[in-house]
């Protein structure tokens, strides 16, 4: 979306630039043409002035001639000659000005011809007056066709002037048209550019509004996401705390059990009597340290083996009927045996006469085994020395 807008803006700015260039080129072209027109106007005015100058110089020269004829004053002659020279000068300028105009050559040539004839006539009159006197000059002057030549010259000059005025009018109109064209071109260009600029501004504003909406939507989405993340984080923290607490509880429970087990072991091993735990089939399951100390048997020698390995049970006890397997019978029946005779078999091969107690192990109402406790045999004391009483 951003790229599309960028391209459109760039394109529109290029269009505006193109419009500006076109307007500038048209304006420059029109200005050049205006300058050219202005030059032509000046040219036309200059030509008109020269033609006017020709006519007025001619008139002044004719007047000075007549004055000279009347007064024979050299100053009048000089004035006539001066006017003729000025007229000639004006003609030359007019010819020079007409050189660039194809249609103006012919009238100028015609005028030149007429003026040349007139100058010749004036020279002839002056010469006649100088050579033959005033009367001859007057006759010559009278022979002049009543100013017809002058009128012809004036007509030719007038025609030139008219043509020049027509040209002036055309050039003036062309200049006006060019000015209007320039005005309208510049105006159109400026308005077009303003419109394009307004369009670009609208595009950009529209895009900005869209961006603001997107930003607001994004902000809202971000806020919602953050809220969800916080909620989820809180849930995770709570779950983690619960898990840690659960873990800690488990560790606590484990250590409590271990402690109980360890404490029970300590108690059993602290007992001085030999303690043997039997299964119902009279295999040894556990024993305390007193067994090891007293008999030399180690735990791995006895656990899992028959009781008969360490204890040979007598078949009969005082005040009890004989029994083939007193321990098995007692376990099956769930009875105790008290002070039953037996022989303790040491690992070294030595044997010792002992008595034992049997206590059935009950799990609920079932007998699952038994515990035998054997009082350790007394440590034999040293024989008394002779003469000492026991």
């Amino acid at each position: 979306m951003k790229d599309s807008l960028e391209k459109r803006v760039i394109f529109l700015f290029l269009v505006m630039l193109a419009v500006l260039v076109v307007v500038a080129m048209v304006a420059i072209g029109n200005i050049r043409e205006s300058i050219a027109s202005s030059d032509w106007v000046n040219h036309s005015h200059a030509k008109l002035l020269e033609v006017e100058g020709i006519v007025s110089s001619l008139h002044a020269g004719e007047a000075a001639l007549r004055s000279y004829l009347l007064t024979s004053d050299a100053r009048d002659l000089a004035a006539c000659r001066e006017q003729c020279a000025q007229m000639t000068e004006h003609l030359q300028v007019a010819q020079a000005l007409a050189r660039g105009e194809a249609g103006q050559q012919q009238p100028t040539v015609q005028l030149e011809s007429l003026l040349a004839k007139r100058l010749e006539f004036i020279s002839q009159v002056v010469k006649t007056q100088q050579q033959n006197g005033l009367e001859a000059a007057r006759k010559l002057l009278a022979a002049d066709a009543g100013g017809a030549a002058l009128r012809e010259i004036q007509r030719a000059a007038g025609k030139l002037k008219e043509e020049e005025m027509e040209l002036l009018r055309k050039r003036d109109q062309a200049s006006y048209v060019q000015a209007q064209t320039t005005r309208w071109t510049v105006l159109t260009g400026v308005i077009s550019n303003f419109l394009l600029l307004a369009f670009v501004a609208w595009l950009i504003r529209d895009d900005l509004a869209a961006r603001r909406r997107s930003a607001a939507a994004l902000r809202t989405a971000n806020e919602q996401l953050e809220t969800k993340v916080q909620e989820r984080t809180t849930q995770w923290v709570v779950a983690n705390d619960a898990l840690q607490l659960e873990n800690l509880e488990r560790q606590w429970a484990n250590q409590a059990l271990e402690h109980q087990l360890r404490y029970s072991q300590l108690i059993i091993h602290a007992i001085g009597d030999l303690i043997l735990v039997l299964s119902k089939t009279q295999n040894i399951l556990r024993l305390n340290h007193a067994v090891e100390r007293q008999t030399g048997w180690e735990s791995q020698d006895l656990v899992g083996n028959s009781l008969s390995l360490i204890l040979a049970v007598s078949s009969q006890a005082p005040h009890s009927p004989p029994a083939r397997d007193p321990v098995g019978s007692a376990l099956n029946a769930g009875h105790e045996l008290q002070e039953w005779p037996a022989t303790l078999l040491h690992k070294s091969g030595r044997s010792t006469r002992v008595t034992f107690n049997l206590f059935p192990l009950r799990d609920g109402d079932k007998v699952v085994g038994g515990v035998i406790s054997v009082r350790p045999p007394p440590v034999p004391s040293s024989p008394p020395a002779s003469g000492e009483s026991i």
Binding site: D241, Q244, L245, L248, E249, Q251, W252, A253, Q255, A256, L257, H259, Q260, Y263
Partner: protein, 128 residues
């Protein structure tokens, strides 16, 4: 201001677990291993509650409780032990010296509730 609890037990694992759970619950915990350290800790920074193990290396819990009562009288004491006593026997033995007796087989949750009850905090369990 966080309430201060003094934990006395010669087993490091017990001290560490109690420290973790009590700190997580917002208490300030001091944990010591011997009766001597307990005396020093109680004098330097009197606690609001004490938990004592029964069997320790340099003393026994009951004797330690009597001694600590002279240092910080009025502070509730919990006897927390792995030795399984009949609660009736415990009450007869210690009289008014301890505020509560708990076995180490009791869950941490119940231990915390008992501590909160003795400290008069909300969320505590009802008087047993």
């Amino acid at each position: 201001m966080k309430k201060h609890i003094l934990v006395i037990d010669d087993e490091e694992s017990i001290r560490e677990m109690l420290r973790q759970i009590l700190t997580a619950k917002g208490y300030r915990v001091s944990a010591v291993a011997t009766g001597l350290e307990a005396h020093r800790a109680a004098q330097a920074d009197p606690p609001q509650l004490i938990t004592v193990d029964l069997q320790m290396e340099d003393t026994d819990g009951l004797e330690l409780i009597r001694q600590l009562k002279s240092v910080v009288p009025g502070v509730p004491v919990i006897l927390l032990t792995g030795v399984l006593f009949d609660p009736q026997v415990v009450r007869q033995m210690v009289g008014n010296q301890i505020s509560s007796y708990l076995q180490k087989t009791t869950s941490l949750k119940q231990i915390i509730q008992e501590i909160q009850r003795l400290l008069g905090e909300p969320g505590a369990a009802k008087t047993p």
